[in-house]
């Protein structure tokens, strides 16, 4: 693939990502917002949290980019298998969100009698924010309409690396719309705010679970 055609498709991916970013925010926003509100605050901390989330989301994008190219054919919007995957992803998303919100599984506490280090050199490494990887990845493979449009386009490209590049640049275009979530770092993290965010996450988990189950049931009933 020539450099010119590569840059042309990258430009196309960026424009597509940026144009359809609001839809991605609408799809993922109900997951991200309560999750990020339940994390410790601070703009710097949020940058790390959001970075991990978006990184996992990128992994989902790239996985899909590879899959559509390897499938060797465009995945039309009317592809009937899409709804199985969509339903399953939404149910998994619901379970992940509910697990994060309820704090399951509990982190292992120090066993009684086990000695703590006498000297702690440097800061204790911070554990990754709960749910970042699972939620990020699952939202990354949640088939929203722009995702499929990008998939159709990427599948037509000449090589696997071109498809991956297309999806990576498409991701950048959509990720720009998530930057305003950093401002949530300014919200003071009182126990009430964290509790509200967790309860909201449970409610939204119910919604995604219900929505996913409905899709699966409709597929089973109507074929």
């Amino acid at each position: 693939m020539t450099l010119l055609s590569l840059s042309a498709s990258a430009g196309e991916a960026l424009a597509l990502g940026f144009a359809t970013g609001p839809v991605c925010v609408a799809t993922c926003g109900p997951v991200v917002l309560p999750w990020i509100l339940a994390q410790p605050g601070g703009v710097r901390g949020h940058s790390r949290q959001l970075g991990l989330f978006l990184g996992a989301r990128l992994a989902g994008y790239l996985l899909f980019g590879a899959a559509v190219w390897l499938a060797g054919a465009a995945i039309p919007r009317a592809w009937t298998g899409r709804s199985w995957l969509l339903g399953a992803v939404q149910v998994l998303l619901a379970l992940s969100l509910a697990a994060f919100a309820t704090g399951w599984p509990r982190r292992r506490r120090a066993v009684a009698g086990q000695s703590q280090p006498l000297v702690q050199i440097g800061a204790q490494p911070a554990s990754p924010p709960r749910g970042a990887l699972a939620l990020g990845f699952l939202t990354g493979i949640n088939f929203c309409p722009p995702f499929l449009v990008a998939g159709v386009r990427a599948a037509q490209l000449a090589s696997l690396s071109a498809s991956l590049l297309f999806f990576a640049v498409f991701f950048v275009g959509t990720a720009v719309w998530f930057l305003p979530f950093l401002s949530l770092g300014l919200v003071r993290r009182t126990p009430a705010v964290v509790t509200v965010a967790r309860i909201a996450a449970i409610l939204l988990a119910c919604w995604y679970g219900f929505s996913g189950l409905l899709i699966l049931i409709e597929r089973i009933v109507y074929g």
């Binding site: 609001p22 839809v23 609408a26 799809t27 039309p76 919007r77 009317a78 929203c144």
Partner: protein, 166 residues
């Protein structure tokens, strides 16, 4: 001194609240209503059907074709085109129409429905798509916002779903 000013401000606020209460039914409510009405807001097109694109006069009634309505963000239901037949009282007892929806001079759908004498009776009909841009629906009734045949007042509202783009 500061405490005094705060107290004054508090009582001024209380007095203002009472004044607002007295004005609510006479001025305030109407004023805010007018402000909302002129704020440039509109009801979502999924409910209203959008804006009229073109109209055709038939024998005793008017057929109005609306601009296509696309769902926003993750709005449920697909895109559709609304067609309105009015007045319903001017329609024949059986309507069988070829309608050009996109203004290219070619009919896009064939629409058939019966118009019952009782204005409260449900409507049932059929839409046959003549090209791939639209979806046939048979039977069609008061199904959903995006696939609909219903009577509202003295109008018959028909919503024809657009086929998914490939």
């Amino acid at each position: 001194m500061r405490k005094r000013w705060l107290a004054v401000a508090g009582y001024v606020g209380a007095a203002l609240t009472l004044a607002i209460a007295a004005l609510v039914p006479f001025v305030l409510m109407g004023g805010i209503t007018q402000a909302v009405a002129h704020a440039g807001l509109r009801v979502d097109e999924v409910y209203t059907g959008g804006t009229v694109a073109r109209s055709f006069t038939r024998n005793g009634y008017l057929v109005s074709v609306y601009e296509p309505v696309q769902p926003r963000l993750l709005q449920r239901g697909g895109p559709f085109v609304q067609v309105v037949f009015s007045p319903a009282s001017g329609l024949p007892s059986n309507v069988d129409e070829l309608i050009d929806l996109d203004g290219d001079g070619q009919p896009d759908v064939r629409v058939r429905f019966a118009v019952p004498g009782d204005a409260r009776a449900s409507l049932h009909g059929a839409v046959q798509a003549l090209n791939s841009r639209y979806r046939s629906v048979e039977p069609i009734g008061a199904d959903s916002f995006t696939q609909l045949l219903a009577r509202t007042g003295d109008r018959i509202v028909l919503r024809i779903p657009l086929a998914p783009r490939r």
